[in-house]
């Protein structure tokens, strides 16, 4: 019997449990295993490995599920408590931007007048106007970043060893 035939048999033995075999290959393999002790042994060991793998028992730790359920409920409550705050923040930002856009022409004139009265260079009061306009956005971004940083803070189990 040529080595190629054994190679083919071993490949089919490996393929069978992973992706299944077409009927023709399966029939060929069955016939080959009946007359080849080496490949038959290989197939038996593979079957045994799979059987043992499927039946391996693992004890589940006592109380792990209930501890997890408790933690999840706590976290859910925490998230629910933060939701109104988040909505309020977005509302405040939106109101601030709308007001900012609506009042921009008047504020622009106010800054221009102030620049004229104080003799400030035009560039300075223009920068002042831009800052005034972006302050709500910067404030909101800072709040959101702080909030995210707090939420994604490394959990204790991550710090335990290292």
């Amino acid at each position: 019997m040529s080595a190629n035939i054994h190679d083919r048999a071993l490949q089919l033995i490996a393929r069978a449990p992973v992706e299944g075999l077409p009927e023709a290959d399966s029939a060929w393999l069955r016939a080959h295993l009946e007359e080849c002790d080496f490949c038959s042994d290989h197939a038996r060991h593979t079957d045994r490995a799979l059987r043992l793998l499927r039946t391996a028992a693992i004890p589940f730790p006592d109380g792990l599920a209930s501890r997890t359920q408790f933690r999840v409920r706590l976290r859910a409550q925490e998230l629910r408590e933060h939701e109104p705050r988040g909505r309020l923040l977005w509302f405040a930002c939106a109101a601030s931007w709308i007001f900012g856009i609506a009042s921009a022409p008047y504020v622009w004139r106010l800054f221009a007048w102030f620049g004229e009265v104080t003799g400030m260079p035009k560039l300075v009061w223009e920068i002042g106007f831009a800052l005034w306009w972006t302050i709500p956005a910067l404030f909101a971004a800072a709040v959101l970043l702080l909030e995210n940083a707090r939420q994604t803070e490394e959990p204790d189990w991550l710090k335990q060893d290292g």
């Binding site: 391996a56 359920q69 998230l79 290292g162």
Partner: protein, 188 residues
């Protein structure tokens, strides 16, 4: 999309605590077993078990119900393990998941009796547990997903974020490694 997956997706959108309680009970054994095989450590598996469900709560809105819930669950658990491992060893994700590397996803110290082995030995009648802990975790993982969790190859590719051909090759190698270890175990 199955009705069950739809219901889960809707419940997760709402962060329904009753649904989460039910899911934790339903998937407790499977998730813990997967984490135990991947981390090779009982305490670590317990930590990741809890952290996975917290993540499910926080990211539940990302589950669209188009795939099996368990595939999404295992993917979350796996990413947590990889993130944790990355934070310990500053390597790339590819290095950690490449089966050709020396110790991919191998968290346990091989020179000491593995905690995985200790846990598994308690109920072991055969030497499959000993053999399993000798093969790289990257292979243990695919063997567990395929032959214990009975995920389809395509679902596994989603969980592992690798091509289907990679899943297959890991399965062949993993099965071959397990068979070899079992044979060596039987011979000694």
């Amino acid at each position: 999309m199955s009705n069950e997956a739809k219901t889960i997706a809707r419940g997760l959108q709402r962060r329904d605590p009753d649904l989460l309680d039910r899911l934790i009970e339903q998937y407790q054994f499977r998730l813990y077993r997967y984490l135990l095989y991947v981390t090779g450590n009982k305490e670590r598996a317990e930590d990741f078990f809890q952290e996975t469900w917290i993540r499910v709560l926080e990211r539940g809105h990302q589950y669209d119900g188009k795939s099996k819930f368990e595939a999404w669950l295992f993917a979350i658990a796996r990413h947590l393990v990889i993130d944790w491992q990355r934070s310990r060893k500053p390597q790339s994700l590819d290095t950690l998941t490449d089966p050709e590397q020396d110790h991919p996803l191998q968290l346990a110290n091989e020179k000491q009796p593995s905690p995985l082995h200790q846990v598994l030995s308690q109920e072991s009648e055969e030497n499959v547990q000993t053999s399993l802990q000798k093969i790289p975790a990257i292979y243990r993982e695919v063997l567990v997903l395929r032959f214990q969790e009975e995920l389809q190859i395509e679902e596994m590719a989603g969980v592992l974020s690798v091509p289907i051909s990679t899943v297959k090759s890991r399965l062949y190698r993993g099965l071959e490694a397990l068979r070899g270890e079992l044979q060596r175990g039987a011979a000694t």
